[in-house]
């Protein structure tokens, strides 16, 4: 028993010392020359920003890039309050957000998705509005099977939701949803698992999943096929920029990072996330 106590004590002591060593490293990292970039905001942009950050770190050994997710508005708010150096937003700045600087690093679209087994191949604007406001509750009304529609909506605070509502001129309180999801992947999983569901997600995510055997298909919007290609050529109506936002004119390391994120060197990273790189 005594051995056990000693062992536990020893473990704790070893652990404590081990924890103190990194603390020294941290003091070292606070030396002049060591810089930390904090990015917060949109969960759509975050995976891309993290990848770019990783590559940026490899090129600049004295920089650490921390990426935290949240919503676009959260990112913008954090930049304002100085909590973050750079905000990430999966939408353009709003009018009341003037005074900030935004830099597009990629473009993404929002597409309507349904289950692959659903015979419906297209919905017009009014039909989508009616489905989301509960006026149409059965697929039969829009040419599908006689099954009740499962409406998938996004949770409050996501810019995908804001853009969707804005595009169709809806109030969120008017939407009669059956499922509410947080992030893109949850939406894709929900629609893939339910033959009668309809939802809207980032086109990049949807196309990737559709090509990897998820049981979903993208519907054209206003007659334009929802594809990365159409987002790239600007034909798709519900496209959005993925932005990095700063409080002041970027300088120093922030400037370097933003320039890097907009350069050709990260095009492969952008495409790996199924987004559209900016034109160079």
């Amino acid at each position: 028993m005594k051995k056990l106590v000693t062992l536990v004590l020893l473990l704790v002591i070893v652990g404590a010392t081990w924890l103190f060593i990194p603390k020294k490293a941290e003091q070292a990292s606070n030396k002049p020359g060591m810089e930390r970039l904090v990015l917060t905001g949109s969960s759509t942009v975050a995976p891309l920003a993290a990848e770019i950050g990783r590559r940026f770190e490899a090129l600049h050994s004295n920089v650490r890039v921390d990426v935290q997710t949240g919503g676009s508005s959260r990112g913008i708010n954090d930049v304002r309050s100085g909590l973050a150096d750079i905000g990430m937003a999966s939408r353009a700045l709003k009018e009341n957000e003037s005074g900030l600087f935004s830099f597009t690093i990629a473009t993404d679209g929002i597409g309507m998705i349904v289950n692959r087994a659903n015979p419906v191949t297209a919905l017009d604007r009014q039909q989508i509005i009616d489905i989301y406001t509960g006026k149409i509750t059965d697929w039969q009304a829009v040419g599908g099977n006689a099954d009740p529609i499962t409406v998938v909506n996004k949770a409050e605070g996501h810019s995908t939701l804001e853009l969707f509502l804005h595009h169709f001129d809806l109030q969120n309180s008017a939407v009669k949803a059956h499922v509410i999801i947080g992030d893109n992947q949850q939406g894709i999983k929900t629609v893939a698992g339910n033959p009668d569901a309809i939802g809207y997600v980032s086109i990049g995510s949807a196309e990737y999943e559709a090509q990897h055997d998820a049981a979903i298909k993208l519907l054209p919007l206003d007659g334009v096929a929802a594809s990365v290609e159409n987002v790239q050529n600007g034909a798709f109506p519900l496209a959005r920029p993925l932005n990095l936002v700063t409080r002041s004119e970027p300088a120093g390391i922030i400037k370097a990072f933003i320039e890097f994120a907009r350069s050709r060197q990260v095009d492969d990273l952008v495409m790996a996330q199924y987004f559209v790189p900016v034109a160079h």
Binding site: P148, T150, E156, G157, T190, G193, N194
Partner: protein, 292 residues
């Protein structure tokens, strides 16, 4: 335990120093819960200042972006899902514990108990993952959308079942062997012995186990977030999607600012109040039982 505080003077000097130190630590431990309450209130204060509490149950809906803050449907969903899970898990858990004690051969009982203990150790995110990828499509085939109150209840049941089983197991272990010998001597069948002697004797242990499981069900977040659908509404059937208080916080917290964020802290307060009520009720019940 046996030490009495009544004569502090009988402590030696080192002991007094030690006691003071320990009291400090204990005070710190006890202060955490107060600190939590304090911070929840202070963080929800901004919205409570201009939105009266009554609006949190009387508003038309939960649309914090439009200044609507009704959390009553989420209260209802939390209650319903927990209640359903407790109702399902209680008989299963008790049966499992009875199995270990009175039905299974010793070796099998040991393995069964180990299995349950391991089930208890599976993290909630794994249950949620399983529910999302396996269970929800299954239920969706029955009745869309699949992510629903029912799915939530089933996953919650899986999660609290080990809690019920293990606490009831411990309670059964505490039933004096003399009772069993007495019952056996009367020639009772195994079930009459269990029903007539064992379960009543272990009553308070079983009750506290169920209470513990209920608290866990109410507080469960990740799994229910992944499988319950998260629509803020009063469910009209088991297949309707619902959002619990916990899911509301986890879903929107990362995206919330200002009043929205404060309203989520109010949600947290409501959740805490609910759990405290339950714990208080359990305490009251325990004291009541002690007087009988």
């Amino acid at each position: 335990m046996i030490w009495s505080w009544h004569n502090i003077l009988s402590l030696s000097r080192t002991d007094s120093i030690l006691a003071a130190l320990l009291r400090l630590c204990a005070l710190l431990s006890a202060a955490i819960v107060i600190l939590i309450l304090l911070f929840l209130i202070s963080e929800s204060w901004p919205v409570l200042q201009h939105v009266p509490l009554s609006r949190f149950i009387s508003d038309a809906s939960w649309h914090p972006a439009q200044g609507l803050y009704n959390i009553a449907p989420m209260l209802g969903a939390t209650l319903l899902s927990s209640l359903g899970a407790v109702l399902l898990a209680t008989p299963l858990g008790i049966a499992s514990a009875l199995f270990c004690h009175y039905y299974a051969p010793t070796a099998l009982a040991i393995w069964h108990r180990r299995t349950i203990a391991l089930l208890a150790g599976i993290p909630s995110v794994v249950y949620g993952f399983w529910g999302l990828t396996t269970l929800a499509p299954l239920i969706g085939r029955l009745h869309p959308p699949g992510v629903s109150l029912l799915t939530g209840i089933v996953v919650l049941t899986m999660m609290i079942l080990p809690t019920v089983a293990l606490t009831v197991d411990a309670a059964l272990a505490g039933v004096p062997a003399a009772y069993l010998r007495g019952a056996a001597a009367l020639g009772l069948t195994r079930w009459s012995m269990i029903n007539g002697v064992v379960l009543p004797a272990a009553r308070s242990g079983i009750a506290s186990g169920i209470m513990l499981a209920a608290v866990r069900a109410i507080g469960e977040t990740m799994a229910i977030l992944m499988v319950a659908g998260n629509v803020v509404q009063y469910p009209d059937s088991l297949f309707a999607s619902v959002r619990t208080l916990t899911a509301n916080i986890a879903l929107e917290m990362a995206y919330a600012m200002g009043d929205h964020r404060a309203a989520l802290f109010v949600t947290g307060l409501a959740l805490l109040a609910m759990v405290l009520l339950l714990v208080g009720f359990a305490e009251f019940f325990k004291q009541d039982a002690a007087h009988v």
